[in-house]
Amino acid sequence: MTSIAAHCRPVAELPLRDAREWVAKVRSALEQGERLVTLFGRKADAEGAVLTAVLQAGGGELHVLRAATTLEQGWHTLTRDFPAAQCFEREVHEQLGVRIADHPWLKPIRFEGKNLRKMKDYPFYKLAGKEVHEVAVGPIHAGIIEPGSFRFMCLGETVHHLEIQLGYQHRGVEALLLRGDPRSLAPLVETIAGDTSIGHAWAYCAAIEALAGLSPREEIEASRAVGLELERIAMHLSGLSGLASDIGFQQGASSYGRLRTTAINTSMRLCGSRFGRGWLRPGGSRAAMDAGVAEIARANLSLIGRDVAIINDCFLSALTVQHRFQGVGTVTKQQALELGLVGMAARASGVPIDQRSFGAGSYGRIPMKTSVEESGDCWARALLRIREIDCSLQWLTAALDRFPAFAPVCEAVGALAPGQFVVSVCEGWRGEIVHCLETDGLGKLLHYKVQDPSLRNWFGLALALRRNEISDFPICNKSFDLSYCGNDL
């Protein structure tokens, strides 16, 4: 079994239901406690769309429900009862023009297609009242960071509502993925969210391999997991450095920052890129680790482990850190579940979802502990990242014991099977990355749907700000550490 879930089914075995029946099926699965992993549509013809919902049961099994509808008929929104569906329904509406009846918040996700360039048209809500005021921030922010617009609706210093308008980063990824040989898309996939190159590349590779009927050898999977965990450590360190700098805690900013350098330079030793570019390819892994490089990697990991403990101790015991983070930007467990938050944002609110916990492949041979925090505030999100760094370091040390060397390997990937639907889910450092591919009767790619965890978690940030002070926005934002381009595609 492969390390990340890749569920492949012949399209013929997935009945195309009527939209009404499909909605009822999705509802009943959700009522029984399944989780919505994704929901999207593709154009079928001028008037019609094919809809897909992927659900996950508690044990990790994925199942797929499909439907056919016309743009005009559409469906009656799920969002009112299951807010987790909100971003998916908005996306289907924006991409295809499918009617979603009674959706409470049918605003553009990323201003693509016919919405391109209409950034000024975003229908912000208004807060009415005598002394309320609005603060608009962005799209260009003060630091070196991707663009996005934030509109704070405040009474005094207190934010009552934050609305987030995204789309500035829209590059047309999904359309580009349908050009050229589907087996050669790795360089493009690695830039969907460039801080998660390994995570997205793995979701892509697993999907292509499933379509080509290939299951990669143990050492290929292990090498990929090493890349994924290094990426996680590096980005968690980067986030902690940013959090420390946002509260003026310079020792944290510089120490976590330089340890990140050590982590990304370790990736560079193995694959030539500080961002893991070129590490994964369908059918293989190009990371090269001989005895010399392995020794450097081990030394770097133990240096990170030793030094991170020293700065963690200083950081977590500082009253200023506790004071700024505790009780700020809280998302309750209930809210996280309702909104369908994923990854570290969910785990910091007491929702223990982690695709690695199902123990498949490399994560079965060396289990990964799932870290969970309960308080759902900035403190929990920072603490969770600290814990996850430790878990990943331990995992990597065990993995390097088992695999003292990696040679670049690439197995030939044959033609993709015709008429298949595949969904792959990879637990990247932010959360689950979902790629869905469908081939036509000739084995050509008919559709490629990409989902970065940020798509779902941005709403978590908006909610976290409610009844918080506007001056706490930077730390709330950094504690979620979401991707703009991952949302905008």
């Binding site: 990323r110 391109l116 360039r117 950034m119 000024k120 799209p139 260009i140 003060a142 630091g143 070196i144 960071i145 991707e146 663009p147 789309g167 500035y168 980063q169 829209h170 590059r171 047309g172 990824v173 359309a175 580009l176 050009r179 050669s184 790795a186 360089p187 493009l188 830039t191 969907i192 969210a193 460039g194 801080d195 190159s197 980067s238 020792q251 510089s254 120490s255 920052g257 330089r258 350098t261 330079n265 560079m268 030793r269 193995l270 030539g272 890129s273 500080r274 961002f275 570019r277 070129g278 190009r286 020293i310 700065i311 101790d313 200083c314 015991s317 991707s483 703009y484 381009c485 905008d488």
Partner: protein, 248 residues
Amino acid sequence: MFKSLKVRKNQGWQFIVDLTTAVPAGFRGRPVIAEKPCARGCVECSKVCPTKAIALDSVRIDLARCIFCNECALACPEDKIEFTSETRMGSATPEGLVIVSGRARPTPVATSSALKKLFGRSLKLRQVSAGGCNGCELELNALANVNFDLQRYGIEWVASPRHADGLVLSGPLTQNMADALQLAWDAMPEPRFVVSFGACALSGGPFMDSPALDRAFLDRFKPALFVPGCPPHPLTFIAAILDLLGVE
């Protein structure tokens, strides 16, 4: 207090002493094309290149397009192409970015006496990401960390375009960012200049064929500096900007 001292002791000195000669071990940087003939009729390298960076006859790699994926080197039956860990490859002109066999490095960045006079001792930069994937943005942030410490040269990032002398642009320039980018540029006082950072800004990179881009800004305002890479290594930027400003 003791914890803080312990961190300080543990941290030691982290800065890279000489940024102009540092070579990052393992980095896939500037390519070299060997001076040997290609197999007859062979087009393997240009065929696999995802960004159409390679022209043939004889083999040339345009670093404005190259994303350093290594596909060409692996595809070449003659092992003609090799990527070195050399980071120095910025250029002041697009032509200077073309690597040919027999020419080991791109045209070095010539010092601009005008820019040297204005900004040689103090340069304030504003960064704008117009579709960047956060690779370039992270590397630009890294320039200010304790390892690279670019501030030692009087080069600093500023929050407002009003305080900036240079605009460092990353990303392929999306349509949805076109207006905001123009606004930021308009807010910058003269004299000012553009630095194009990363394959996406230089050529559109992996997104060059997308209709969601609008690159007209770069036709109106020609960059003074081109920094190739995907993302570029911080050292690539440092060498290029120091050369441009004549900083020693």
